[in-house]
């Protein structure tokens, strides 16, 4: 099988790529958001009540290690051959990456800063949202970047059960012995991951204006 690329094919399938990319984004971004929404309060709880952190961390470490394919197929009985079967394991994976980062990020807020904030009248939620979280952003964002990039890559494994977004290029390309199609899938996924990563870096800069000073 020649590894050379069929450039004509690549040039003429923009519509297919666009449709699959939209599908792929849907499958990979929702779990990131879901994971974030779960890991923020969970991480907060671990900081507030440090005793629950070791078991939580142990659980997330285990969840992180579980191979995605195993989780996808285990869910089929419950959620069928539908997008949810891919998105639930990816959400679990995301939060297993983010919880330690949220905890570390919040813990990285120096005590003097926290005390000064309280002295200035920031209390409870206000202090959290306006002082602690912003300071924790870099660490949380580092985790978010890892999770996002990994999600975008992992969605394609769902192609094994017919739900893979751009991974569909893999199944179809492989069945026909068509390396160009597979390579297109690889390239698009990597490009998507790089773009998402870059976007998150920009978001981080926007959220932490003091670091630009």
């Amino acid at each position: 099988m020649s590894d050379w690329l069929d450039w004509d094919w690549l040039a003429s399938h923009g519509e297919l790529f666009a449709a699959l990319t939209g599908d792929h984004l849907y499958l990979s971004i929702l779990p990131v958001i879901g994971g974030l929404l779960i890991s923020l309060p969970l991480g907060l709880a671990c900081v507030r009540w440090p005793r629950i952190y070791p078991p939580v961390l142990g659980t997330t470490s285990v969840l992180y290690a579980l191979p995605s394919l195993a989780l996808f197929v285990l869910l089929i009985d419950f959620t069928g051959f539908e997008p949810l079967t891919v998105m639930i394991p990816l959400t679990i994976y995301t939060l297993s990456v983010l919880v330690p980062n949220v905890v570390d990020g919040l813990r990285s807020v120096p005590d003097p800063v926290r005390q000064a904030a309280t002295a200035m009248g920031f209390a409870g939620i206000r202090r959290l949202l306006q002082v602690e979280l912003p300071i924790a952003v870099p660490v949380i964002m580092a985790g978010l970047r890892v999770a996002t990039v990994a999600n975008i890559s992992l969605v394609s494994v769902g192609a094994i059960i017919g739900i893979g977004g751009l991974g569909q290029l893999f199944t179809e390309g492989f069945q026909r012995g068509f390396p160009t199609e597979i390579a297109a899938g690889v390239a698009l996924i990597v490009a998507l991951a790089v773009a998402a990563d870059a976007l998150l870096v920009i978001v981080q800069r926007v959220l932490t204006p003091w670091s630009r000073a």
Binding site: D3, L69, I152, S153, I160, G167, D197
Partner: protein, 220 residues
């Protein structure tokens, strides 16, 4: 029937423990491919990471390779490799190794870099050569991070080897892929549970290794 009931039914069938398709055979296959891939990846990435960390050259390579590797879709890579070189262990092994190198590389580099510059200075001041500084000072202190890199790589390999069953590799992934195709949910559940267990045990083994070696390092 829950996953665990299915798995239990499957594992208590004596036939599942025999032959080239049996649990022991597939488990050994999986372990063997994974260990082989890890060893080769480490053989490449450890010296490279040590070199880059110690000499501070080509740091860009070390730092960015991990991010790049995380973005590479394993299924696509495996398929390309098999289309190029046909079925067999070697093509898949190449893909497994390629994906395992970045975590080892990045963490080895980070481990060396994390060694306090003052300590390195002091060692040089005492008269150690570059190589001695590397082997007697930097490496021992970098061990925790190096082990973290190996652990991450090991988990990555176990997971990728599972997916590789789709392109006809043996191993525990075989149960998942075959079970899915035959609608044999015992096989699927059992395979998935075994793979998950293997991943967790691998992780635990490395965590244990990290704890014992860091105790030793602290002791010195």
């Amino acid at each position: 029937m829950t996953i665990f009931e299915l798995t239990w039914r499957w594992m208590s069938d004596p036939e599942q423990w025999q032959g080239p398709d049996g649990i022991p055979a597939r488990l050994i296959e999986h372990l063997w491919y994974s260990a082989l891939a890890l060893a080769i990846a480490a053989a490449i990435a450890l010296p490279l990471g040590l070199f880059i960390g110690h000499t501070r050259r080509a740091a860009f390579l070390a730092v960015n390779s991990a991010n790049a590797a995380r973005a590479l879709p394993t299924l696509g890579l495996l398929m390309l490799v098999v289309l190029a070189a046909g079925v067999g262990l070697l093509p898949v092994l190449v893909a497994l190794i390629a994906l395992a190198i970045p975590p080892i590389l990045v963490n080895t580099y980070a481990g060396i870099r994390a060694v306090d510059a003052d300590v390195v200075d002091a060692s040089k001041g005492v008269g150690m050569t570059g190589m001695q500084v590397l082997t007697k000072v930097e490496m021992p202190l970098a061990v925790p991070l190096i082990l973290l890199g190996l652990r991450t790589a090991a988990i990555q390999i176990v997971s990728t080897a599972t997916i590789a069953a789709y392109v006809s590799l043996g191993g525990l992934g075989r149960f998942i892929v075959d079970g899915l195709a035959r609608r044999d949910y015992e096989l699927v559940a059992g395979g998935a549970v075994l793979v998950a267990l293997l991943a967790v045990v691998t992780q635990a083994a490395f965590v244990l290794l990290q704890r014992t070696t860091s105790a030793k390092v602290r002791g010195t």
